[in-house]
Assembly symmetry: C2
Homo-oligomer: 206 residues x 2
């Protein structure tokens, strides 16, 4: 009875959960948390309401799972993209550019919606808070591997957290207006110059 059904049951389950979660992320990025509905998710995923209810009984379960998936995906993709940079070209400026690519895509927009919604959603808050901590940790680790000489500088953790927060703010602005996007570009450009200078002179400081 297996014509084209070469997928085992656990494979089908994982595929279904993936479609549902991806549809959730797309819907979040496109429509925002407001304007987000489970109906839109099932429409986008091309499945029935029953399928969604089976895997994610409540809406909170769905968004929490989507946040988890998103955080996990981005952490691994973060390491991969940094590892893909040839060691020759691993400068601070290049690192900032690679980092910025994570604040300019659909995934970040979905995560921003979830983060803002989490402030007033007790069920979502711990998930996003853990994701934030994860982002901070992963960034520190990757930086330490890419720039071992600079990683011993004082306050490096605070500087990295600050860059992440700055990029969050700039990306949120850029999503609104082209003009805001231009200003954000100018800020990143100046930051790049300042940090490159700082990194070059820092090792000579006690």
């Amino acid at each position: 009875m297996t014509r084209i059904m070469r997928l085992s049951q656990p494979e089908r389950v994982e595929a279904m959960r993936g479609r549902l979660l991806d549809a959730t992320i797309d819907s979040l990025a496109l429509s925002g948390y407001h304007g987000f509905s489970t109906n839109d998710v099932v429409r986008r995923a091309g499945v029935s309401r029953g399928a969604l209810a089976h895997h994610f009984p409540t809406k909170a379960d769905l968004v929490a799972a989507a946040a988890d998936r998103l955080i996990g995906q981005r952490a691994t993709e973060f390491r991969e993209r940094f590892a893909a940079v040839p060691p020759r070209r691993r400068t601070v400026a290049k690192a900032l550019d690679v980092l910025w690519t994570f604040f300019d895509d659909r995934g970040f927009h979905a995560l921003l919606e979830l983060a803002v919604a989490a402030r007033t959603d007790a069920e979502l808050r711990p998930v996003v808070a853990a994701g934030l901590r994860h982002a901070s940790d992963v960034t520190r680790q990757v930086f330490a591997e890419s720039f071992p000489a600079l990683a011993q500088q004082p306050f490096i953790a605070e500087v990295l957290d600050g860059i992440l927060a700055l990029y969050v703010g700039l990306a949120a602005e850029s999503a609104l207006d082209d003009d805001a996007g231009h200003r954000a570009s100018a800020v990143r450009s100046v930051l790049k110059g300042a940090l490159s200078l700082g990194a070059a002179s820092a090792p000579s400081l006690p």
Copy 2:
């Protein structure tokens, strides 16, 4: 028929609009844009649905007006709080502390909700975008008045925009988690130290 009614009609209108708009801002800050409803607004303001419909026919009108009011209020309050600092104490560190008070209150939370919602709401986007530009302009002006010597430094506009964006990111994080709040405090502390040093040495640079 007028026991305590000493208010003229335009005054009553303004009072009603103010109650409605303040209730909107409170509701936004407390419940988020998701979970925000006109019913909650009229309940909170203690008026009827008809009154709301009379002054703000549609929900979009209401939130746009609330955003405008919020932006205007904060701009004047920003100037006031800076003017209230005795000239003796107008240091960069103090300025950063005063600035931060604007990212730690109910008004910012409401504005953040509106800003994120504006990304996917064509009617709200231009209002918030204009507010952002306004914030950038006002900050630059106040800074130029408070620190005329530093205002001639190169890239000062970009640095100020960057500080605003950084604070947006830090405030968004802090709203989620105490731990995130602690990290944000550490970042602000390091920034304060770095900028104080930079400001002290900057005038000697060409």
